[in-house]
Protein backbone atom coordinates (compact mmCIF):
# COMPACT_ATOMS: atom_id res chain seq x y z
CA UNK A 1 0.00 0.00 0.00
CA UNK A 2 2.84 2.37 0.83
CA UNK A 3 4.06 1.91 -2.75
CA UNK A 4 0.79 3.21 -4.15
CA UNK A 5 0.81 6.24 -1.85
CA UNK A 6 4.45 7.03 -2.57
CA UNK A 7 3.67 6.85 -6.29
CA UNK A 8 0.63 9.12 -5.99
CA UNK A 9 2.12 11.70 -3.60
CA UNK A 10 5.50 11.75 -5.35
CA UNK A 11 3.81 12.10 -8.72
CA UNK A 12 1.58 14.86 -7.42
CA UNK A 13 4.52 16.92 -6.16
CA UNK A 14 6.12 16.54 -9.60
CA UNK A 15 2.89 17.76 -11.24
CA UNK A 16 3.01 20.86 -9.02
CA UNK A 17 6.57 21.43 -10.28
CA UNK A 18 5.46 20.90 -13.89
CA UNK A 19 2.65 23.44 -13.47
CA UNK A 20 5.18 25.94 -12.11
CA UNK A 21 7.26 25.34 -15.27
CA UNK A 22 4.38 25.59 -17.74
CA UNK A 23 1.81 27.92 -16.20
CA UNK A 24 3.95 30.29 -14.11
CA UNK A 25 6.84 30.02 -16.63
CA UNK A 26 9.47 29.63 -13.93
CA UNK A 27 12.94 28.28 -14.67
CA UNK A 28 13.92 24.93 -13.09
CA UNK A 29 16.14 26.79 -10.62
CA UNK A 30 13.29 29.03 -9.47
CA UNK A 31 10.88 26.09 -9.28
CA UNK A 32 13.20 23.94 -7.17
CA UNK A 33 14.04 26.86 -4.86
CA UNK A 34 10.33 27.56 -4.33
CA UNK A 35 9.59 23.90 -3.61
CA UNK A 36 12.42 23.75 -1.06
CA UNK A 37 11.01 26.81 0.71
CA UNK A 38 7.51 25.24 0.70
CA UNK A 39 9.00 22.08 2.22
CA UNK A 40 10.74 24.15 4.90
CA UNK A 41 7.48 25.95 5.77
CA UNK A 42 5.55 22.65 5.98
CA UNK A 43 8.35 21.27 8.15
CA UNK A 44 8.16 24.32 10.40
CA UNK A 45 4.45 23.70 11.02
CA UNK A 46 5.16 20.01 11.65
CA UNK A 47 3.09 18.93 8.65
CA UNK A 48 5.83 17.20 6.67
CA UNK A 49 6.59 14.33 9.05
CA UNK A 50 3.02 12.97 8.96
CA UNK A 51 3.33 13.06 5.17
CA UNK A 52 6.51 10.94 5.37
CA UNK A 53 4.77 8.44 7.65
CA UNK A 54 1.94 8.31 5.17
CA UNK A 55 3.70 8.31 1.79
CA UNK A 56 7.25 7.15 2.61
CA UNK A 57 9.60 7.80 -0.28
CA UNK A 58 6.83 9.76 -2.02
CA UNK A 59 7.61 12.48 0.51
CA UNK A 60 11.33 11.92 1.15
CA UNK A 61 12.50 11.72 -2.50
CA UNK A 62 11.12 15.04 -3.87
CA UNK A 63 13.29 18.09 -3.18
CA UNK A 64 10.69 19.47 -0.72
CA UNK A 65 12.01 17.00 1.88
CA UNK A 66 15.34 18.85 1.71
CA UNK A 67 13.74 21.97 3.17
CA UNK A 68 11.89 19.88 5.74
CA UNK A 69 14.98 18.11 7.02
CA UNK A 70 16.91 21.39 7.26
CA UNK A 71 14.20 22.78 9.55
CA UNK A 72 13.91 19.52 11.48
CA UNK A 73 17.66 19.42 12.13
CA UNK A 74 17.72 23.06 13.22
CA UNK A 75 14.76 22.63 15.59
CA UNK A 76 16.12 19.45 17.15
CA UNK A 77 19.44 21.11 17.94
CA UNK A 78 17.64 24.26 19.13
CA UNK A 79 15.84 22.18 21.75
CA UNK A 80 19.19 21.30 23.32
CA UNK A 81 21.31 24.39 22.78
CA UNK A 82 18.82 27.20 22.29
CA UNK A 83 19.14 29.83 19.55
CA UNK A 84 22.70 28.80 18.63
CA UNK A 85 21.41 25.34 17.79
CA UNK A 86 19.42 26.81 14.91
CA UNK A 87 22.68 27.47 13.06
CA UNK A 88 24.69 24.48 14.25
CA UNK A 89 21.97 21.89 13.77
CA UNK A 90 20.83 22.89 10.30
CA UNK A 91 22.72 20.21 8.36
CA UNK A 92 22.43 17.54 11.06
CA UNK A 93 19.76 15.55 9.19
CA UNK A 94 20.25 16.67 5.60
CA UNK A 95 23.94 16.05 5.20
CA UNK A 96 23.50 12.94 3.02
CA UNK A 97 21.93 14.69 0.03
CA UNK A 98 24.58 17.37 -0.24
CA UNK A 99 27.55 15.17 0.62
CA UNK A 100 26.36 12.49 -1.83
CA UNK A 101 25.96 15.12 -4.56
CA UNK A 102 29.48 16.48 -3.93
CA UNK A 103 31.15 13.06 -3.66
CA UNK A 104 29.44 11.52 -6.68
CA UNK A 105 29.87 14.76 -8.62
CA UNK A 106 33.62 14.52 -8.11
CA UNK A 107 33.69 10.80 -8.94
CA UNK A 108 31.57 11.50 -12.02
CA UNK A 109 33.97 14.21 -13.15
CA UNK A 110 36.88 11.78 -12.69
CA UNK A 111 35.19 8.89 -14.52
CA UNK A 112 33.22 10.46 -17.36
CA UNK A 113 34.21 12.74 -20.21
CA UNK A 114 31.88 15.56 -21.28
CA UNK A 115 29.82 14.75 -24.36
CA UNK A 116 29.53 16.83 -27.50
Amino acid sequence: MVFLWSFLIGGLICVIGQLMFDVLKLTPGQTLSTLVVIGAILGGFGLYEPLIDFAGAGATVPITSFGNSLVTGALEEAKQHGIIGVVTGMFEVTSSGISAAIIFGMIGALLFKPKG
Binding site: V2, G11, Q18, L35, G67, A74, V93, F104, P114
Partner: protein, 154 residues
Protein backbone atom coordinates in the same frame (compact mmCIF):
# COMPACT_ATOMS: atom_id res chain seq x y z
CA UNK B 1 8.74 57.04 -26.64
CA UNK B 2 5.07 56.05 -26.49
CA UNK B 3 5.36 54.85 -30.06
CA UNK B 4 8.30 52.67 -29.11
CA UNK B 5 6.53 50.99 -26.20
CA UNK B 6 3.45 50.27 -28.28
CA UNK B 7 5.72 48.76 -30.90
CA UNK B 8 7.44 46.70 -28.23
CA UNK B 9 4.04 45.51 -27.01
CA UNK B 10 3.00 44.61 -30.55
CA UNK B 11 6.19 42.60 -30.96
CA UNK B 12 5.60 40.86 -27.66
CA UNK B 13 2.08 39.86 -28.74
CA UNK B 14 3.45 38.68 -32.08
CA UNK B 15 6.16 36.69 -30.34
CA UNK B 16 3.61 35.09 -28.01
CA UNK B 17 1.44 34.06 -30.96
CA UNK B 18 4.41 32.37 -32.65
CA UNK B 19 5.68 30.48 -29.59
CA UNK B 20 4.57 26.85 -29.54
CA UNK B 21 1.74 26.21 -27.08
CA UNK B 22 2.92 24.05 -24.21
CA UNK B 23 0.87 20.87 -23.93
CA UNK B 24 0.29 21.32 -20.22
CA UNK B 25 -1.93 18.28 -19.63
CA UNK B 26 0.40 15.84 -21.38
CA UNK B 27 3.42 17.36 -19.65
CA UNK B 28 1.72 16.94 -16.28
CA UNK B 29 0.85 13.30 -17.00
CA UNK B 30 4.45 12.56 -18.02
CA UNK B 31 5.75 14.33 -14.90
CA UNK B 32 3.27 12.44 -12.73
CA UNK B 33 4.22 8.99 -14.03
CA UNK B 34 7.98 9.41 -14.16
CA UNK B 35 8.08 11.33 -10.86
CA UNK B 36 5.86 8.74 -9.20
CA UNK B 37 8.02 5.95 -10.61
CA UNK B 38 11.20 7.50 -9.18
CA UNK B 39 9.49 7.71 -5.78
CA UNK B 40 8.46 4.03 -6.03
CA UNK B 41 12.08 3.10 -6.78
CA UNK B 42 13.02 5.22 -3.76
CA UNK B 43 10.44 3.31 -1.71
CA UNK B 44 12.07 0.00 -2.69
CA UNK B 45 15.48 1.32 -1.65
CA UNK B 46 13.99 2.66 1.63
CA UNK B 47 12.47 -0.74 2.46
CA UNK B 48 15.81 -2.36 1.70
CA UNK B 49 17.55 -0.07 4.23
CA UNK B 50 14.74 -0.51 6.77
CA UNK B 51 14.92 -4.31 6.67
CA UNK B 52 18.66 -4.84 6.46
CA UNK B 53 20.18 -1.83 8.24
CA UNK B 54 17.60 -0.97 10.94
CA UNK B 55 16.56 2.43 9.65
CA UNK B 56 13.09 3.77 10.47
CA UNK B 57 10.56 5.29 8.07
CA UNK B 58 11.82 8.78 9.04
CA UNK B 59 15.56 8.07 8.84
CA UNK B 60 15.54 5.79 5.78
CA UNK B 61 15.23 8.90 3.60
CA UNK B 62 18.92 9.74 4.08
CA UNK B 63 20.58 6.62 2.62
CA UNK B 64 17.81 6.46 -0.01
CA UNK B 65 18.68 9.94 -1.24
CA UNK B 66 22.38 9.05 -1.38
CA UNK B 67 21.65 5.86 -3.33
CA UNK B 68 19.41 7.70 -5.80
CA UNK B 69 22.12 10.30 -6.39
CA UNK B 70 24.61 7.48 -7.02
CA UNK B 71 22.26 6.02 -9.65
CA UNK B 72 21.88 9.53 -11.08
CA UNK B 73 25.65 9.79 -11.44
CA UNK B 74 25.76 6.64 -13.57
CA UNK B 75 22.78 7.72 -15.70
CA UNK B 76 24.16 11.25 -16.14
CA UNK B 77 27.63 9.96 -17.02
CA UNK B 78 26.30 7.65 -19.72
CA UNK B 79 24.05 10.39 -21.10
CA UNK B 80 20.81 8.54 -20.32
CA UNK B 81 19.52 11.02 -17.75
CA UNK B 82 19.23 13.81 -20.30
CA UNK B 83 16.98 11.73 -22.51
CA UNK B 84 14.65 10.82 -19.63
CA UNK B 85 14.63 14.45 -18.46
CA UNK B 86 13.60 15.72 -21.89
CA UNK B 87 10.62 13.39 -21.79
CA UNK B 88 9.61 13.84 -18.16
CA UNK B 89 10.20 17.55 -17.47
CA UNK B 90 9.53 18.20 -13.79
CA UNK B 91 9.14 14.44 -13.23
CA UNK B 92 12.93 14.12 -13.10
CA UNK B 93 13.71 17.66 -11.91
CA UNK B 94 11.64 17.70 -8.71
CA UNK B 95 12.87 14.44 -7.13
CA UNK B 96 16.27 14.64 -5.50
CA UNK B 97 17.72 13.02 -8.65
CA UNK B 98 17.23 16.38 -10.38
CA UNK B 99 19.34 18.07 -7.73
CA UNK B 100 22.00 15.38 -8.14
CA UNK B 101 21.89 15.71 -11.91
CA UNK B 102 22.35 19.49 -11.71
CA UNK B 103 25.49 19.04 -9.59
CA UNK B 104 26.95 16.07 -11.44
CA UNK B 105 26.33 17.28 -14.99
CA UNK B 106 27.92 20.64 -14.14
CA UNK B 107 30.92 18.84 -12.64
CA UNK B 108 31.38 16.62 -15.71
CA UNK B 109 30.78 19.41 -18.19
CA UNK B 110 33.33 21.84 -16.73
CA UNK B 111 36.02 19.23 -16.19
CA UNK B 112 37.91 20.46 -19.24
CA UNK B 113 38.55 23.77 -17.44
CA UNK B 114 40.47 21.92 -14.73
CA UNK B 115 39.47 20.49 -11.40
CA UNK B 116 39.78 23.62 -9.26
CA UNK B 117 38.44 26.31 -11.59
CA UNK B 118 36.17 24.09 -13.63
CA UNK B 119 34.71 21.32 -11.47
CA UNK B 120 35.05 23.10 -8.13
CA UNK B 121 33.87 26.46 -9.34
CA UNK B 122 30.89 25.30 -11.37
CA UNK B 123 29.60 22.30 -9.42
CA UNK B 124 26.93 24.34 -7.59
CA UNK B 125 26.22 26.76 -10.41
CA UNK B 126 22.66 25.42 -10.83
CA UNK B 127 22.06 23.68 -7.52
CA UNK B 128 23.50 26.46 -5.38
CA UNK B 129 20.26 28.44 -5.32
CA UNK B 130 18.41 25.39 -3.95
CA UNK B 131 20.89 25.13 -1.08
CA UNK B 132 20.86 28.88 -0.48
CA UNK B 133 17.09 29.31 -0.31
CA UNK B 134 16.58 26.02 1.51
CA UNK B 135 19.12 26.88 4.18
CA UNK B 136 18.09 30.49 4.60
CA UNK B 137 14.35 29.82 4.78
CA UNK B 138 14.99 26.96 7.21
CA UNK B 139 17.06 29.35 9.34
CA UNK B 140 14.31 31.98 9.44
CA UNK B 141 11.56 29.44 10.17
CA UNK B 142 13.52 27.62 12.88
CA UNK B 143 14.51 30.95 14.45
CA UNK B 144 10.90 32.18 14.59
CA UNK B 145 9.71 28.89 16.01
CA UNK B 146 12.46 28.79 18.66
CA UNK B 147 11.85 32.38 19.79
CA UNK B 148 8.11 31.70 19.85
CA UNK B 149 8.57 28.66 22.05
CA UNK B 150 10.68 30.75 24.48
CA UNK B 151 7.91 33.30 24.75
CA UNK B 152 5.18 30.79 25.30
CA UNK B 153 7.48 29.19 27.87
CA UNK B 154 7.47 25.61 26.63
Amino acid sequence: MANQTSQAKKYKDYEASKLPKRPILINCLKAFFIGGLICVIGQFISLFYMYFFNFTEQTAGNPTVATLIFITMLLTGFGIYNKIAQFAGAGTAVPVTGFGNAVISAAIEHRTEGFVQGVGGNMFKLAGSVILFGTFSAFVIALIKTIFSYWSGT
